[in-house]
């Protein structure tokens, strides 16, 4: 829509828009520094003082940099302060601040403060300019010949557009492609296999059932995790951690299908939250609830890990446990479902749902 008629910035001086006439700029009111030479001189000295303190502080900064030991922490106001950093900040910060305060003080007190009026111009061009512009566009279009040879622009657009394909394809190696086969070996798999020993996640010692009291929770890892290093270690550690809990078997619900997944009330669950993958940490011994500190998804470990609160949508995966010949807790297999947060291709039908047998 053409809006040329609206582009005049002249004020609408009709009775509806402006019931009270614009009285124009008010009279200039003098500041103390305008009226009183002593006040002006005071302000002048204040500005000079602010600027004059800057070199002093700058030198102090350099002295602190070299003279104050880097690793000296001093107690002050009930906490420990890194002295070097603190003094560098105080000297440097005040130096910078004083430049600013001096400049603003100068502008506010000493520079002329007569208000000035500048006329605005509409953002748009006037009619003559628009016509001239249209003329130039027309001349350019004629020179380019695009109106006579209609395919030129279309083919150029198509040629430029298709360049997006090679540009995007060149990014195809940013990571491995998560095809079904790749997913099975990566995000749908952990280190747990038949016979993998459950070890304490801090000291890597294998766990025996008799080490666990009722109500006790141990963070555990597969023994083979500690053979890994670098990226492999981190990647597996993001999927394999366990929480191993011992509960009174008579006070929890164990579905028929999972009756032999536990050892005398010792159950193992994935420690990785099914919401966005934080490691679940906070254990409530009496309710058998475990809570994720990131978004407070709460799972009932006494009921196959179903969600009782918070944004998680799926039960915590449970790891089938048994005891090996040496009397240590081991896994019967990998998790029966992928651990961690949901992804599009995840088949979520096998997760435990409240009421399953």
């Amino acid at each position: 829509m053409s809006s040329t008629e609206h582009n005049s910035l002249a004020p609408v001086e009709d009775g509806t828009r402006l019931p009270v006439a614009n009285p124009g700029l008010g009279e200039h009111v003098e500041r103390y520094t305008d009226a009183d030479p002593a006040a002006a001189r005071r302000a002048y000295l204040q500005v000079l003082t602010l600027f004059g303190l800057v070199p002093v502080l700058a030198i102090a900064f350099v002295v602190v940099y070299f003279a104050v030991p880097q690793h000296l922490w001093v107690p002050l106001l009930g906490t420990q302060w890194p002295l070097n950093s603190l003094l560098l900040g105080l000297t440097g910060g005040l130096a910078v601040l004083f430049i600013g305060l001096g400049a603003v003080h100068w502008a506010r007190q000493l520079m002329s403060d007569h208000e000035m009026v500048e006329q605005r111009h509409p953002a748009s061009s006037d009619t003559a300019t628009r016509e001239a512009f249209a003329e130039k566009v027309h001349a350019g279009v004629m020179d380019a010949g695009v109106s006579r040879r209609g395919m030129l622009l279309g083919s150029l657009g198509g040629a430029l557009g298709i360049l997006a394909v090679p540009a995007l394809v060149s990014l195809a190696d940013m990571g491995p492609w998560p095809t079904a086969a790749v997913r099975r070996e990566t995000i749908e798999k952990t280190l747990w296999t038949e016979g993998e020993v459950v070890v304490n996640d801090v000291n890597a010692r294998p766990l025996r059932p008799e080490d666990l009291e009722i109500g006790q929770l141990v963070n555990a890892e597969p023994a083979s995790l500690f053979d890994l290093h670098g990226v492999d270690y981190m990647t597996e550690k993001a999927k394999s951690p366990l929480i191993v809990v011992r509960m009174d078997p008579n006070r929890i619900q164990i579905p028929e299908s999972r009756r032999d997944w536990q050892v005398g009330g010792i159950l193992a669950y994935s420690k990785i939250c099914t919401h966005v993958g934080c490691p679940i940490t906070l254990w409530e011994q009496q309710t058998h609830h475990v809570l994720c500190p990131c978004h407070q998804s709460t799972f009932d470990l006494g009921n196959s890990g179903v969600v009782v609160f918070g944004p998680a949508a799926r039960s915590l995966p449970q790891l089938p446990l048994r005891v090996n010949a040496d009397g240590y807790l081991v896994a019967q297999s990998d998790f029966t479902v992928p651990v961690g947060p949901s992804f599009f291709e995840r088949d979520s039908h096998n997760d435990y749902v409240e009421g399953d047998q």
Binding site: M1, P11, R17, P19, V20, N22, P23, G24, L25, G26, E27, V29, R31, Y65, S85, L86, L88, G89, G92, L94, A95, L97, I99, G100, A103, W106, A107, R108, M111, D113, M116, V117, E118, R120, A123, M174, G175, V182, T186, H229, G230, V231, M234, T235, K237, A238, V276, C278, P279, C294, S297, G310, P311, A312, A313, S342, F343, F344, E345, D347
Partner: protein, 568 residues
Amino acid sequence: MARPADVVPTPAAPEPRDTTGASAAPPQRTMPRGTTWLDERMGLAKIGKAGLRKVFPDHWSFLLGEIALYSFIVLLITGIFLTIWFRPSMAEIEYTGTYELMRGRHVSEAFASALDISFDVRGGLLVRQIHHWAALLFVAAITAHMLRVFFTGAFRKPREINWLIGVGLMATSLIAGFSGYSLPDDLLSGTGLRFVDGLIRSIPVVGTWLEFFVFGGQFPGELLISRLYMVHILLVPAVILGLISAHLALVVYHKHTQFPGPGRTEANVVGYPLFPVYMAKAGGFFFIVFGALILMAATMSINQVWLYGPYNPAAVTAGSQPDWYMGWLEGALRLIPPGWESHWGNTTWTWSVFLPGVGLMGLLFTVLALWPFVEAKLLGDTSEHHLLDRPRNAPTRTALGVAGMTCYGMFWLNGANDIIATQFNVSLNAVTMSIRVLVFVMPVIAFFVTKRICLSLQRADRERVLHGSESGVLVRDPAGGYAEGHAPISQGEAFTLTQHKQYEPLEASETEDEHGVRRRDPNAVSGFTARMSRWFVGDDVRKPTAAELEEAHHHEDASDDDMPRQLV
């Protein structure tokens, strides 16, 4: 600066002061020394003639955008220092620096270098903390600036494009902040990345592919920190610099908006010249912002990564919080009740992460981007605006803005639901469940309360213009009654209170002509637009017309005969 406390009665409209300073017929000046050389090469005199005495209006709220700009410059300066030392690598090394508690531990190079900057580079800790504080201030100042622009209507024509650039800047600043705080590879930032992994995965259809492409395989992989580093120090700053340049260029082209007041019109800008006043004030303000940030960094410890330790995918601490600007998304995620996930065929649609994470962010920026055009449509307004709205004079807009802020605030509050629960000894579940309701209820309450406050303020303005201000002097008349005299307000104030445009709700246009043929009129107003328009401006309190003012004066003259005018 000094502003007139009152206005002299009916002055002749003052001659605009000549901004080139030539009106006093000064002696012919010669070019300052050294400038001729530049003028011969780049036309310095032409640029300076046009720009040196450019007038900017004065208001404290105009400083908010400046704070954003200056904290960005501080980020660039301190960021350069940090890149000298930071090593963006996830390779595992043994920490050998001076921090005793971590010595001998196997950590990533990124984390080790973050510790080195904190403990072994002189001034490094200070610069790291300036950088982090400046990042928080950057996003905060952008947010406050955007709210100022919204509530004063500074986004209206011709500034819609600059508003869009601002929305882009805000979105980019979030990426800048998040990519930066993920770099040290400490426990807290790693937990944040774990969340990002879950967020990316939740995107329907392409989520897993994006996850593998971003992380170079499974989480956490070994590529992410170096990739984020590129994003943080090259890609995002380049985009921000480009957008800021365009933002400022448009501010210069449009000239700054100004608040209404005596002598201020849609066609002028009243204020002080760039040279020397704003060079000193704005330049000085950069040093004030920088100085304040240095002092904050010196005295307020932030992001003590050495206490959190290196990232460990199997550990997290209670009370983990993201930087403040991510808090509302964090709160939205925490708010979702269990079970928001669909399992269709062999696929999983994770609404519980996708909707609050990706969806809310998209919603916020879409609404922000569309608003100027929606409002212009509802007002049928195609004129240029250079005088700012007082928020009360756009009651529905102001109420919507406050409702939006309240909704954001509720999400944000829930981002700290665990802290609220532990600090106030209340049930975490009760806090979360209350906010699940409040996030819908509070914005509605805020809308109506704000709108009523705005309308009352409009009504008070109207009263003040018509009947003057209460003098505070009670007079007893001979019959024993009491009355309070009203003192007329100055013409300047009356003008300020009445200069705004009074919008009428749009009427739906006839959709058929007299022959029953549908009109094809691109400017037609649909019934829906007309209803929305009535909702948007229909309740506005009408400002007094010239006739009403006239009548009010007559009324006062007639009834206040025994009221001494000296009360004025």
